[in-house]
């Protein structure tokens, strides 16, 4: 079952440490947001494979936006 990973905060995409096809464990950072001088990881809710990254570095995302999809 694919699962959407949503941003839990409004911020700017600072780093994307994963790419499509990467295996991640529960709690691994899939993307890193920057908001108000803080770097905040958006973590994988469970183990799985990254099916799609939906954002680019430098892009502003709102709280609740889908940033990636997990297989």
């Amino acid at each position: 079952m694919p699962e959407e990973i949503k941003a839990h905060i409004t911020g700017v995409v600072f780093q994307i440490p994963t790419k499509q096809g990467d295996k991640v464990g529960a709690g691994d950072p899939v993307i890193v947001l920057e908001s108000m001088k803080m770097e905040i990881p958006v973590e994988a809710p469970r183990a799985g494979t990254v099916r799609e990254i939906k954002v680019q570095e430098g892009q502003t995302v709102q709280e609740g936006d889908t940033v990636a999809v997990l297989d």
């Binding site: 905060i9 700017v12 908001s35 108000m36 001088k37 502003t60």
Partner: protein, 446 residues
Amino acid sequence: MRKVLIANRGEIARRVLRACRRLGLATVAVYSEADTNAPHVRDADEAIMLGPPPARETYLDIERLLHAARRSDADAIHPGYGFLSENWQFAEAVTRAGLTFIGPPAEAVRAMGDKTQARRLMAAAGVPTVAGTPGPIGDVAEAEALGARAGFPLVLKAAGGGGGIGMVRVDKASDLASAFASATRRAQSAFGNAAVYVERYLERPRHVEVQVFADTRGAVVHLHERECSIQRRHQKLIEESPAPNLPPPTKRGLVEAAVAGARAIDYVNAGTMEFLVDEAGGYYFLEMNTRIQVEHPVTEEVTGLDLVVEQLRVAAGEPLSWRQEDIVQRGAAIEVRVYAEDPDKNFLPSPGTITRLVMPAGEGTRVESGVEQGSVVSVHYDPLLFKLITRGASRDEALARMRDALAATVVEGVKTTIPFLRKALEHPDVRRGALHTQMVDQGAFH
């Protein structure tokens, strides 16, 4: 000095603007597109737009700031705190452009910016430092030698980073080898630099700092101490002066060490020497901040002196207005920082629009705010909204006034640290002044 450009935003830009006005100096604000409607822009005589919202294209862009100074015919730049305030290249570039940098000489900024060099310079000046390796260690034997000499616990820290990331605490010698391997690995992954150094780990230390001030003629004074132990992520939330329950020998030692340290590096203008104080009253140099600090109003309220006006005077080449014996702590003052953060979600940022804002007023209550009702709190900058400062004849009175001030404050539209601050001020350990830097992380206020 005729006209000052303020290379900053928010409450500190407004604070500096006020000090300039006090001395009859003309003012220039700078701003990003996100700050077009910000109060600091309206407060200034003139304002120059620097560019799009990201700080690196505006408040962190040395060339654009110098260009704005030339365009507006400013002859001095005040950096505030944060942004470029501790960037020695900025201080040097301002001076090289023929302008006055309102702060210390670039060389002092540079020396204190390198944390291991700062430690060496201060140790040479007789300032106590935490026992530790002089630099990064090559193997675990060096950490073992320190443990044998200074005792445990120790802490392994990444030489290339900070903010507590990658720190590993070690309680006994037999754990050192695995801790060294893990700290090296974490330092490499977090900072791209595997170098690790080792220090004695202090249990429940207090953070106590000393405000110093020096002029260009060699006079150095201190303005007493501030207690800043209530922190999260190594950032202060509550500060006060005097530091409660500080043993008199510790106080004397701290202020003498601070003045000696400032003298040793030919310091000029406002600076702060930060120390950790252990449970036995021992004190150890942490770092020096070569700028005005967020919490400077606490010192202003207990001494009755205007630190930012003095910064301008000293930068203009005037001698210090105060002699050491004139600088006295009267009563007590406390400051709280109201950040756009959610204390229930581990202080996650809370950007948004401030839909309602009510500020407190009353005896001994001071507000330093960078926002107003309708302000948009952007993701691009530091989350500090405003600071509340109260003073009283006693610490209890200052605390009571702060509780009233927080009860009267209303912020809607963004989450803030106010609920946390209210809870913290009711805590029995805060009321009796028994503070240490690990209180927030250990959940004392949950």
